[in-house]
Amino acid sequence: MSLSRQDVEKIAHLARLLISEQQMPVYVTSLSAILAFVDQLAKVDTAGVAPMAHPLAGQTQRLRTDEVTETDQHDKYQANASAVQGGLYLVPRVIE
């Protein structure tokens, strides 16, 4: 599978990545190459094989009991935040 320049621009936008004009051809080529590599899997005959949602076949999700086990440690967790105020993380203004 080969990606167009528009495909890469869209993926970059969805991932909020800024790709420069010079870098763009590199991404188009290398991402297409990665997809081509993975595309080899499509050659395997999977007719009659149930799709798996997880590589750990036969295993299922363990559940936890509904108990509060965490305490308030927001001062520690916020030590590496770039800006906080009154317990809130501050980010560039976003409003609809």
Binding site: K10, T60, L63, V68, E70, Y77, L88
Partner: protein
């Protein structure tokens, strides 16, 4: 002029009433200081793993059973990818291809008494996002992640509703149901129960659906109704003037009573769902399902049917009285106290005097100042003719404000009804003697003066004369007996 048909489907998000979050052990209590209930999992620190809350699964299954849906033996969690500051992972853990609850249905009753079945496509488990706050912050938004990871059950309806009224009836029915099941507190002010509406219009008679708009941010029944009305008018106007509706997300602004396009969401609607490798498939066994089924309470429709049949109530009354478990229990306790033959009287008082007193004082049924046993005691005094229904309303007000029982108030205020025939007759005689002209007119054929005499006797007895006895005696005396 064209005739348009409205098509509505709702997506309802109900916060599940668990103590801890869906994938972490952080608390879910509302109103805690910012970020005091955001754990490393909720904050998306590297290296953490989500572990599913068993109670959230149990609640989802309980809902599925209540709507007669298939419970998936195996369901999958998926990542829904989008960027927003209140979503630290950059994706929301949700369910996509294999949700826990499959197809089901609920019945709604419309104003004209017509029943309608609304299909539910699916219900899936997912996590709530955090909150963005803007007030009092210059050039910045504040992020509170306490809500991030709160379990949600997203309930997706079929596009089965044909008017704003039907949409509201459906939403109210689900609201009643999740509270009956005790899986959601239903508090809409706090965002525990929210709704997105998919709205489209099509020329009546056409099968193909029109292009829909999705309206977000609907957190009250009234806003759902108003937003749909606005959106339908907008789409019809657009189509009739030769334009076309574009599929988009719109935000309802309750201050302006309008919907407007959320341009920022247009391109973001490519969520690139894929199975979350951090979570294994959820397996739900028959035994577990049956153990949840055993905990199902009497459901709203069952309770309404029992009230209607057992107490000979109208479908409307039965519906009102079964609108919440608390109200139903209150009503039944009143019936217990006054006796089943007087259930209609109990129903009238619960829906009448009690409801208006609760409304007036902005109280919930659990905070009623008159308990059901006391209300039953009051009704007993109507039944045994100690007081009239009219006096009973005054007694009720006194019970509400003073907290005493009916008998104490009746005794203290001397409200006991006069049922002594001799005493009533004596008052009638005095009234007739004092009003010779009216008597003559009545006897000359002015029948409506009967009411005048009733009024005079009631005035003289401060409303305490037994109405039936008074009626009978007065008729006899005016007739010349």
């Amino acid at each position: 002029m064209s005739d348009w048909e409205v098509v509505i489907g709702l997506e309802i998000h109900a916060q599940l009433a668990t103590r801890s979050k869906i994938f972490s052990g952080a608390a879910t209590a509302y109103g805690a200081p910012p970020n005091s209930q955001a754990s490393l999992v909720d904050l998306a620190y590297p290296g953490v793993l989500p572990v599913l809350n068993a109670e959230a699964v149990r609640m989802a299954v309980k809902f599925g059973l209540a709507i007669g849906a298939q419970i998936a033996e195996r369901s999958i969690f998926a990542r829904k990818n989008y960027f927003y500051p209140d979503l630290p992972k950059g994706y929301q853990i949700s369910q996509y291809e294999q949700p826990v609850v499959g197809r089901g249905a609920i019945d709604i009753v419309l104003d004209d008494g017509v029943r309608k079945t609304v299909g539910i496509t699916r219900a899936h488990l997912e996590e709530d996002a955090g909150k963005s706050l803007h007030e009092g912050l210059a050039h910045a938004s504040g992020i509170d992640l306490n809500r991030a990871g709160t379990p949600l059950l997203e309930i997706v309806s079929e596009p089965d509703m044909r008017s704003a009224k039907e949409a509201v009836a459906y939403m109210k029915k689900l609201h009643t149901l999740v509270r009956y099941l005790e899986i959601c507190d239903g508090n809409m002010q706090e965002g525990s129960f929210r709704c997105d509406a998919n709205v489209s219009v099509r020329p009546r008679g056409r099968e193909k659906f029109g292009t829909r708009a999705e309206i977000k941010n609907l957190n009250s029944f009234r806003f759902v109704e108003k937003a749909i009305h606005y959106e339908v008018a907008r789409q019809v106007e657009l189509l009739e003037s030769g334009g076309h509706v574009i599929q988009e997300t719109r935000l309802y602004d309750s201050d302006k009573d309008e919907t407007r396009s959320m341009r920022s969401k247009e391109e973001a609607n490519d969520y690139r769902y894929f199975p979350d490798p951090d979570l294994l498939p959820l397996q739900i066994g028959r035994e577990f399902i049956e153990s949840v089924r055993a905990t199902l309470p009497e459901l709203p429709d069952q309770k309404a049917a029992r009230f209607a049949a057992g107490f000979e109530l109208s479908a409307y009354d039965a519906g009102v009285l079964s609108a919440s478990r608390e109200l139903g229990a209150y009503f039944e306790a009143v019936v217990d106290a006054v006796g089943a033959p007087h259930a209609k009287l109990a129903a009238n008082w619960v829906m009448g005097e009690l409801s208006s007193a609760l409304n007036r004082d902005s109280l919930e049924i659990r905070d009623a100042r008159v308990d059901p046993r006391a209300l039953g005691g009051l009704l007993q005094r109507i039944v045994d003719a100690t007081i009239s229904g009219k006096i009973a309303k005054d007694v009720f007000e006194a019970m509400w404000s003073e907290g005493q029982d009916a008998d104490a108030i009746i005794a203290a205020k001397g409200l006991r009804q006069i049922t002594d025939t001799g005493a009533i007759a004596a008052v009638i005689d005095a009234v007739i003697a004092a009003n010779p002209k009216q008597l003559a007119d009545y006897r000359a054929g002015k029948d409506k003066l009967f009411g005048f005499f009733i009024g005079q006797v009631m005035k003289a007895t401060e409303g305490k004369a037994n109405p039936a006895q008074l009626n009978e005696l007065l008729r006899a005396k005016l007739g010349g007996a």
